[in-house]
């Protein structure tokens, strides 16, 4: 994984964890175009789809992320396109094919693995839970 990719992913993680308390550099054009909340949603989903634990838990397709389903509407796909267009470092990694986000041909499997390992190691997961179930006997 190149240094620029790592910097981008770290910025995405920081933005996602701290929202607007972070000075955006690579993502600033995207934030300007999309707004903080939309960027938050797209970043959240990209980080989740590339976190090995969540891929397993959710049985995600490792090769493609759906941009159109009951949760994601046409606007979602359009926003993802804006994110890629305004963030060249991200468009080096991903492309949109039909209704899916896929890795670009220039981003090989080794880099995908490194990217996912980096996200797993660096993304904080702060869980808020509802604990009311009765303990199992």
């Amino acid at each position: 994984m190149t240094e620029s990719t790592q910097t981008l992913i770290q910025e995405m993680i920081d933005f996602f964890d701290k929202k607007d308390n972070v000075n955006l550099n690579i993502l600033k054009h995207a934030e300007k175009k999309l707004g903080t909340l939309t960027l938050f949603v797209l970043t959240r989903d990209l980080l989740e789809w590339n976190n090995p634990l969540f891929i397993e838990a959710n049985n995600f397709d490792k090769k493609k992320m759906s941009l159109l389903n009951d949760e994601r509407k046409e606007i979602y796909k359009e926003n993802m396109l804006i994110l890629l267009n305004t963030t060249p470092a991200l468009s080096d990694m991903f492309i949109i094919r039909n209704n899916y986000l896929v890795f670009s041909d220039t981003f090989d499997q080794e880099e995908i693995n490194e990217l996912r390992e980096f996200i797993q190691n660096n993304k904080q997961i702060k869980i808020q839970s509802k604990e009311t179930r009765k303990l199992r006997s």
């Binding site: 959240r44 989740e48 959710n58 702060k126 869980i127 179930r133 199992r136």
Partner: protein
């Protein structure tokens, strides 16, 4: 019986005769006699000669003489209302004389596509003691197969339904939404095939069809009927809520379909669209629906010269009042109908993005705005009906002609539960069907038309049920309805869509509405996962056991156990959604704001200040989620997690 040679072997002649005896009769068949015999005689000795058709048909030829040809005697199938039609069938009969038993295990079904992607259903009835078909029948639509099997009192086996589904799925996949291929597929697909398709695929295919021609015979060779294809998709769409919101996002599609579909199918299209909307409209939206004055434009212009132009995106509405009142207010733009009700005339403007006209040329009042899928009320024969505004806009788009009004009148007539109106409409359709059947060149179209007819009847029935249901529905029991329907249809929690969530949360409590709106915008995601995975994920990140954890949220996504009961899921979504909203709005990060916001919550008429003043930040965050969840429990009459707020606070202090 053949001739046997002295050597004990069959002679050439004997073999030939055996072959003939064992071969099939492939000429014209008396299907009526055959099917009636099968129905009346579950065990019998089969003589194929008994079912050879003796009917001749005189056909003109190029010379001045006519010739007569053998024809099948068709099976007369009955529609639910007792009307009959001639079923298109083919078949062949085994010449072997032996015993046949009409038993499920002796009947084999299979399904094939023709090269033109039309459907063929084959039924083979075997001899009792030979693994050989005595009778082979072929019908061309699933509706006909259903009629035939019901008539014979046998079941359509599950393997056939699976085969049909699987072959259609392969064909749909290969078609890649190409409107020139999917039109035929949707025209012939049985309801269950369409119903089991993915919402997104169906929507994309509908959009694709709308971009092509929609008519009965788009090309001489394909002869496909896109009208039925479109109606089949709409009437079998599995998630009407999905369809409603998809149409709401793209209302122009309704207009496109209305203008492209053939005239004789327009009323079906309106009816199906009404059915979709009826499933989603709330009691409140129906109660507030503006009145659509379905009146010929020329009449309105004659009576009220100031109402001089109707533009796209407007429809004429009327506000009910009394004649005396309107006169007192010196209103001139009003009319009195035959029920002696006075209406003030005005327009409703569409909020449709593409219809941003300013009513400069109008001197009549703009009474309001309607989104394309909002209900408008109209009245036919003294009964109120509700139609989506987009239909009203469409009907006033060009010229509210008598033809269009008749169309609307026909459609709405079918809504009326009074049998007279219903029967008269069906009779009209059947009359046209019969006329088509008589025309041999167009018999294929007739078959499809008939298939559509059965769907029309189903739609009408469901409309009546939905109207009734909608009238009975109270705002706060809609979750009950959903849970009951979901349990009845056997769907799992993982099949709950965002539309289900939004529908069951919006308008119930202020907080659940906020959560629903955030979910609609994509700010809140949801995942339903296996319990074991749920626990593993939770434990990995918290290093704590997950036995007593029923749901969790992080990073804008709520996670739920697959085993969660429906009634618990929705309130947990409100709970976890509250955590996400508090995180997004940063309430959770600022203790003073968090405290103030929480103190100001009014629950069961009581301000929460006295309960929360001494809570820590984490406890306040949890209190908010639980109090809003409790509010939702009360509104939906669900079982309370805590009987009193005091007990809730005690639990939080102990556990957070």
């Amino acid at each position: 019986m053949g001739f046997v040679s002295p050597l004990g072997e069959k002679s050439f002649f004997a073999e030939k005769q055996d072959l003939e005896e064992k071969g099939y009769y492939e000429g014209k068949i008396n299907f009526q006699a055959l099917v009636d015999y099968l129905k009346g005689n579950p065990k019998f000795q089969f003589y194929h000669e008994n079912f050879i058709s003796k009917r001749k048909k005189v056909v003109p030829n190029l010379s001045s003489f006519s010739t007569s040809v053998d024809t099948h005697i068709p099976l007369l199938a009955s529609l639910e209302n007792g009307e009959q039609y001639e079923m298109k069938m083919e078949g062949k009969l085994n010449k072997r004389i032996d015993r046949v038993v009409l038993r499920q295990s002796k009947i084999h079904f299979n399904f094939e596509f023709t090269t033109k992607k039309e459907t063929e259903y084959n039924i083979g009835i075997k001899y009792e003691f030979f693994d050989e078909n005595a009778i082979e029948l072929k019908v061309y639509t699933y509706e006909d197969l259903e009629f035939l099997t019901k008539y014979l009192e046998v079941k359509i086996p599950e393997y056939l339904r699976n085969e049909v589904t699987s072959k259609f799925n392969v064909a749909f996949k290969a078609a890649k939404s190409d409107c020139n291929v999917i039109d035929n597929l949707y025209e012939f697909a049985p309801d269950f095939v369409i119903f089991n398709r993915n919402n997104t695929d169906l929507w994309n295919d509908l959009v694709s069809l709308s971009k092509c021609q929609i008519n009965e015979e788009s090309s001489f060779f394909s002869g496909s009927n896109e009208n039925i294809a479109v109606l089949n998709i709409l009437s079998n769409f599995p998630n009407k809520l999905y369809l409603f919101f998809a149409l709401k996002r793209k209302p122009k599609l309704i207009n496109t379909l209305m203008s492209k579909i053939d005239d004789e199918y327009e009323q079906d299209l309106i009816r199906v669209l009404c059915v979709v909307c009826m499933e989603v409209w709330t009691q409140r939206s129906i109660a507030n629906a503006p009145f659509f004055l379905a009146e010929d434009k020329r009449t309105v212009v004659q009576k009220y010269p100031r109402v001089d132009s109707f533009e796209k995106g407007y429809c004429v509405i009327a506000t009910k009042s009394s004649k005396e009142e309107l006169k007192k207010e010196r209103k001139t733009n009003f009319k009195v109908n035959k029920y002696n009700e006075a209406y003030e005339i005005g327009i409703v403007e569409s909020r449709h993005d593409g219809f941003n006209f300013s009513p400069t040329s109008h001197s009549f009042d703009v009474h309001g705005y309607a989104n394309p899928l909002d209900p408008l009320r109209t009245r036919i024969k003294g009964e109120s009906f509700y139609i989506p505004a987009e239909i009203a806009f469409y009907l006033t788009e060009e010229l509210v002609s008598s033809k269009k009004l008749n169309l609307l009148s026909n459609v709405l007539d079918a809504y009326i539960s009074a049998p007279v109106a219903t029967v008269s409409m069906i009779t009209t359709v059947i009359r046209s069907t019969k006329q088509l059947l008589k025309n041999s060149i167009r018999s294929k179209i007739a078959r499809r038309f008939r298939a559509a007819l059965s769907k029309i009847k189903n739609n009408r029935r469901s409309t009546d049920e939905i109207v009734k249901k909608s009238n009975e529905r109270e705002l706060y029991n809609k979750l009950d309805d959903f849970i009951r329907d979901a349990k009845k249809s056997g769907i799992g929690l993982e099949e709950i869509t965002f539309y289900d969530i939004i529908k069951n949360l919006r308008g119930v409590t202020p907080q659940s509405t906020k959560v629903a709106e955030a979910a609609e915008k994509g700010l809140i995601g949801k995942r339903i996962i296996e319990d074991e995975i749920f626990e593993a994920l939770y434990t990995t990140y918290t290093k704590k056991p997950a036995n007593n954890v029923s749901a969790f949220a992080f990073g804008g996504i709520t996670y739920h156990r697959k085993s969660t009961p429906f009634e618990v899921f929705f309130k947990e979504f409100v709970h976890e959604g509250t955590h996400i909203l508090d995180d997004l709005t940063k309430i959770a990060k600022n203790k003073s704001v968090l405290l103030k916001e929480t103190q100001n919550i009014i629950h069961e008429g009581e301000r929460m200040k006295k309960y929360v003043s001494r809570l820590t930040s984490d406890q306040l965050i949890e209190f908010r989620a639980r109090i809003f969840e409790r509010e939702f429990e009360i509104a939906n009459n669900l079982k309370l997690d805590f009987k009193t707020v005091k007990k809730l606070v005690k639990f939080i202090k102990k556990n957070y």
